[in-house]
């Protein structure tokens, strides 16, 4: 076979392959195409940079007390970061309340570093101009639970209560559009515009959704925390703004996290 024959064969093979691809296209849905897109961008997540920056922040002395956060107790003992996020939110004895990650980080930044809580709550989310310390710290902490199974407890009465209150807030319809979380997140197999919506009452969907937050948001070029995720949901619900790391957002986080129990934590994620 000479070279021109070889190229003819290659050409025919390629044509045959593309014919098969076209024939198969009839069965490809837009959801499949979006899944294909997500798969293609899944490697190379810029949230890795926030994990690195968060680790530096965790270890660097700061605040009026010039102390690091290395002694912060995230629920598994002083300084234990590995696997802590997979068990949060949880009840903390020292504060006598249920706290999510950001709320707990705020406690540690306050008690260990001496930074006033109001000062932290004033800069809860990253912006194009400046990353938020607490959000960056959260990205580092969640990364240390990668691959660990979600096991959020509802054994303590306050944990159980937070879950129940979270469920009620989830179904609370109000505002000019009559929306609640459940307007979009209580039905399986529906989408808004092009985006599939997880049914957060169902384990399979809740697991996939919860374990992929915090996430680097391509459209914003920023890594977003779970508190941000809830905040922006309320914006789109046409609600007023939920206070950062408040009992309301902690309860909703509890509801989402418990429904995701049993799944391996997979964040920080990468989203459109």
């Amino acid at each position: 076979m000479n070279t021109s024959n070889v190229s003819k064969v290659v050409m025919l093979l390629a044509l045959a392959t593309s014919y098969v691809a076209i024939a198969a296209e009839g069965g490809v849905s837009d959801s499949d195409r979006i899944a294909q897109y997500r798969e293609m961008i899944s490697d190379g997540n810029p949230a890795d940079f926030d994990e690195m920056a968060g680790e530096e922040l965790w270890k660097k002395p700061g605040g009026p007390k010039n102390a690091s956060l290395e002694k912060c107790d995230l629920g598994k003992g002083s300084g234990v970061v590995k696997g802590a996020y997979a068990e949060m939110p949880r009840y903390f004895k020292d504060t006598d309340r249920v706290q999510d990650l950001e709320s707990r980080l705020m406690t540690c930044m306050n008690t260990l570093q001496g930074i006033p809580e109001e000062e932290i709550a004033a800069k809860p989310f990253s912006t194009e101009q400046k990353n938020s310390d607490i959000s960056t710290l959260a990205t580092y902490v969640v990364g240390q639970s990668k691959g660990i199974k979600m096991a959020v407890s509802v054994k303590h009465p306050k944990e159980k209560e937070a879950y129940e209150i979270g469920k009620r807030i989830f179904n609370y319809r109000a505002g000019p559009y009559d929306f609640s979380c459940s307007t979009c997140h209580a039905t399986s197999g529906v989408r808004i515009r092009m985006q599939d919506l997880p049914n957060l009452n169902v384990a399979k969907d809740a697991q996939a959704a919860y374990t992929s937050w915090p996430a680097y948001r391509v459209s914003q070029g920023l890594t977003r925390s779970f508190e941000w995720r809830l905040n922006d949901c309320f914006r789109q619900q046409r609600f007023p703004e939920p206070k950062f790391a408040s009992e309301a957002t902690i309860a909703l986080t509890m509801y989402s996290a418990v429904n995701a129990n049993g799944a391996e934590y997979a964040g920080p994620g990468l989203k459109r």
Partner: protein, 214 residues
């Protein structure tokens, strides 16, 4: 926001009260505590004022019961549902000129826009219709939601022309007059869209030249 009954104003429960609770789905204590937390934990931002969390009668009922669920888990007593729908129907202001139809091209633009009434929107900017978020309205637009039914070929599906126009106007103005706890906003009754905007959307649904019916 006419017809807005402010609930939750009389809750006097102190959040600091430590009370052993039996946490379950039917607990007046937890209901009251949730209401108090919601009142306390939301604040003004931009045009979205804190009092938006106050529910009207319909919102209270539809937070408690589910109605019109695709999976069939409707648990609202029928009498409650009918009662709510009758009240909502009264809030619909039908066009004085008896004409329901505007410009479908303006309607298509409105249908594409998801803007309106969030804390990042401005007070003087008119809201969009948010239609494509939940409905299919064109066989050419691939980015459509499925929370609501597809509205393709709407004009051919709902009886005579007059009936269809009236039905479309009423559903956009206040869908809750027909389905008490529908997921869709009450665009007219809640002052989200003007009469003229609603007419443009009716035109989008009804005009034979619009992408809905092409």
């Amino acid at each position: 926001m006419n017809a807005k009954l402010i609930f939750g104003m009389t809750i006097t429960l102190s959040l600091a009260t430590a009370m052993p609770v039996q946490a379950d789905s039917k607990s007046p204590y937890l209901d009251a505590k949730t209401a108090a937390i919601i009142k306390r934990d939301f604040r003004d931002k931009g045009i979205a004022k804190a009092d938006r969390v106050n529910q009207d009668e319909l919102q209270v009922a539809c937070s408690k019961y589910r109605d019109d669920m695709p999976d069939g888990t409707n648990d609202m007593p029928n009498r409650t549902k009918v009662n709510l729908e009758e009240k909502q129907l009264k809030s619909i202001k039908w066009p004085a000129d008896g004409n329901f139809v505007g410009d479908w091209k303006a309607g298509e633009k409105l249908a594409q826009s998801g803007k309106g009434m969030t804390w990042s929107d401005k007070a003087d900017e008119p809201a969009g219709g948010n239609c494509y978020n939940c409905h299919q309205l064109s066989s050419k637009e691939i980015a459509y939601g499925t929370i609501g039914p597809s509205l393709l070929n709407y004009a051919k599906k709902h009886g005579s022309r007059e009936e269809s126009e009236r039905r479309a106007y009423g559903h956009i103005y206040n869908v809750k007059a027909y389905i008490a706890c529908s997921n869709m906003p009450r665009f007219g009754s809640m002052g989200i869209l003007s009469e003229a905007q609603i007419k443009d959307l009716v035109a989008l649904l009804m005009d034979p030249e619009s992408p809905v019916n092409k």
